[in-house]
Amino acid sequence: MLSRTADHLYWMSRYVERAENLARMLDAHYRLSLLPRAPEALMQGWNATLTSLGMMEEFHKLHPEGGAREALHFLAFDRNHPGSILSCLSAARENARAVRGTVTSELWETLNATYLDSRGFGGNTAYIDVANFIEWVKYRSHLTRGVTVGTMLRDEAFHFASIGTYIERADATTRLLEARWRDPGGAGERLVSEASEWAVLLRALSAFEVYRKVYRESVTPWRVTELLLLNPDIPRSVHRSLFDLLRNLGKVHNSRSAETERYAGELHARFQYGRLEELCAAGVPQFLDQVQERLNGLASRIGADFLVAS
């Protein structure tokens, strides 16, 4: 397959996945905002999210006095900001358009329709609309995934698209966790239990029921972290994402890629065999930063081995 084609497929999937995870982050904020919390807590939460996404500086530049409303608009609807959900959906569609001959017609049509429909959102940031928007983004992402899995030939195109999905997902889960850890929440004058705040994160990641099944006890930060990092079976954990990534990476092996496979395998092994206490000895956010750095390293290696011109 052409390197450029592989590159477009990889980014197509990354952008779809990124849009979905941004929607999940907004979902967490939306749910938190319904809990009885002090008004400052709301903005602290947004600050933690923007920091974990590395978008704080950009946000302050555009909205020096920005509050929750601006933050929401910035992450969801701002078409001039390449990191917003609407921009991601448009980028996913542009990448698909560049390789529309390689993806199935159904997949292209799904992404195109998502983009066409997305142009109707963004005028209103009333909460009810935001809730609908979040649901819509997740639904379109589910649909895209279903069409991908249900129609695409299991060839290189599929594998490169999958690699994009899983590397983005692993990264996003670390950022969601990081935002939660960095948010002091209701600390001090506590109106809401810590458990409810963490339960919100689980729900945003569609992992609340799973948590109950696995632990059968109350929600604690440590267990949520363990579940989302190390559990091998829930689809959005870092461990699972790396496992799925590794599987697809092996299928596109070429004469240059051995070192990249080793690098990915080593990272995966830390999640497969590591203990949370040891991995996070220096602090959870510190470990998450380290993982994000490693994932970046992996992404550049994949780029160099497969996606840029030989």
């Binding site: 397959m1 052409l2 390197s3 450029r4 084609t5 592989a6 542009e94 358009r97 560049a98 390789v99 529309r100 001959g101 390689t102 017609s105 292209w108 049509e109 195109n112 329709a113 066409l116 290189e156 490169f160 596109v252 070429n254 004469s255 497969f306 996606l307 011109a309 030989s310």
Partner: protein, 471 residues
């Protein structure tokens, strides 16, 4: 040639022509709401599928639909047979002409075509002189624009031998028609067109460089922002070949390679949808980033086939068009089956004088113009436009040809005020490989504005499904 236009479906008395009777009966039985719903459905489907084209001069990334009309254009079997014979004859002669021009130039020495017309023409590529191409074929894909005049006869209006486009609309229009009105296809015997991509791929393979047994064919596009990108992606997908941009290809040791996830891969045949000028920055325009540096060297070494060949523009230039009937006589010893539209060549003083005296009645075309840009339609122009054009002609008569204003035939078409006649043309796609093949019919373009004669999509034209009926 300027009487009442010929209607493709209705005779002079307004009754359906025999071959359209069954369709018109059916149409009359359809409730208006149903037809309106079907038209809306077609629009929605085309949008979702992304069958759009970009319009030059509009905001970047603007995508528009080409309007689709749900009334088909119907050709009876015997008319198609005659057209097919004439088209094959014409393309055979055109290929022979290009081969001759780039080799011995017999036709020039015989004085049948003026030499200075050709050798001083910007479309003549001296780089091609003496190069042998596989099978002696230059125009592998030809789009020949055919119109029917008020006398009921077909004329060739224009030959497109460089990178003719539109075939994807022929295929998508048929798919749409079958989806909207499946009954029609069981009631009528309509020749299929779906096999076009297979025939095209077979043809491209058949002209691979000598000695290549399993040729690797790729489609070269200028990229996603080109107005015809949809078609490029569509054809590549239908043929199951890679869609490449210039940056995906490179030249090493006189061979052409693609950059792939598994390293360099040899390329044997390029179906290019890029103009000559942009193909190779080392040989042609040095500022081109669309092409592949060194491609011409590989071509000259015979290690890659480019379809269409470089330099085919020499045969579809509007200044050369008047000589095509002469080519048919010279190379094939036959009389043309389909006539040319009578044409005045304005660098001839007597033609110029005649045209200047009759500007309000004529169509004047720029010799190098395309896409309906840069032409004067006398009867539709204002006095000021005519005078403006007159100055341009007098300044550079050699840049123009003129033709009588043809009363292009019409076909019933859906408009905002119901069915009404609109002018149409036909672009059949003629494929030349080991043999010449034409998928029955072609692309019918329709001028949707009342009275308009311009069918180009960039100028508000639409398309129709084209039926060739079985006997």
């Amino acid at each position: 040639m300027s009487g009442k236009p010929y209607d493709e479906m209705l005779d002079a008395q307004g009754a359906p022509r025999p071959h359209c009777r069954r369709y018109m009966d059916w149409l009359q039985q359809q409730p208006a709401e149903l037809l309106a719903a079907k038209r809306a459905e077609a629009d929605a489907l085309f949008h979702r599928v992304g069958i759009t084209f970009a319009v030059y001069g509009e905001e970047a990334g603007t995508e528009r639909l080409i309007p689709f009309d749900i009334v088909p254009r119907v050709l009876p079997q015997d008319e198609w047979r005659r057209l097919e014979t004439g088209l094959k004859q014409r393309v055979r002669a055109l290929n022979a002409f290009i081969a001759d021009i780039y080799h011995d130039q017999d036709i020039l020495r015989a004085g049948r075509v003026p030499a200075d017309y050709l050798l001083c023409n910007a479309q003549y590529r001296p780089e091609m002189q003496g190069i042998d191409v596989p099978g002696g074929i230059y125009a592998h894909i030809a789009g020949i624009d055919v119109v029917r005049a008020d006398d009921g006869a077909f004329y060739v209006l224009e030959d497109n031998l460089r990178v003719p486009s539109g075939v994807s609309y022929m295929l998508e229009d048929r798919k749409m028609m079958m989806r909207l009105f499946p009954d029609l296809f069981t009631q009528n015997s309509i020749a299929s067109v779906e096999h076009y991509p297979d025939v095209l791929l077979e043809n491209l393979k058949s002209v691979a460089p000598q000695g290549v047994t399993d040729p690797k064919v790729m489609l070269l596009t200028p990229g996603a922002y080109n107005s015809a990108y949809f078609e490029h992606a569509f054809l590549a997908q239908q043929m199951g070949i890679e869609l490449v941009e210039g940056q995906d290809l490179f030249v090493r040791d006189d061979f052409l390679f693609a950059r792939t996830t598994r390293g360099p891969q040899r390329v044997d045949v390029i179906y290019r949808r890029i103009d000559d000028d942009f193909l190779d920055p080392l040989a042609f325009r040095s500022d081109s980033v669309l092409g592949v540096p060194g491609l011409l060297t590989v071509y000259r070494a015979g290690h890659v086939t480019i379809a269409n060949a470089i330099g085919t523009g020499i045969a579809d230039d509007k200044s050369v068009y008047p000589y095509v009937p002469e080519m048919i006589r010279f190379y094939l010893g036959e009389e043309p089956v389909i006539a040319n539209v009578p044409t005045w060549i304005l660098r001839r003083p007597e033609d110029l004088a005649h045209v200047l005296a009759h500007l309000p009645d004529l169509v004047v075309k720029e010799v190098h113009g395309a896409g309906g840009y840069g032409m004067l339609i006398g009867p539709a122009a204002t006095q000021a436009q005519i005078e403006d054009f007159r100055l341009k002609i007098v300044a550079h008569p050699e840049r123009y040809i003129a033709q009588p204003t043809l009363a292009l035939s019409t076909s019933p078409t859906f408009t905002e005020r119901g069915l009404a006649p609109r002018h149409i043309d036909l672009r059949p796609f003629v494929l030349s490989g080991r043999e010449i093949t034409i998928v029955p019919g072609g692309l019918t373009r329709v001028a949707l504005r009342e009275g308009s004669l311009v069918v180009n999509s960039s100028q508000g034209g639409g398309t129709k499904d084209t039926w060739v009926l079985g006997s």
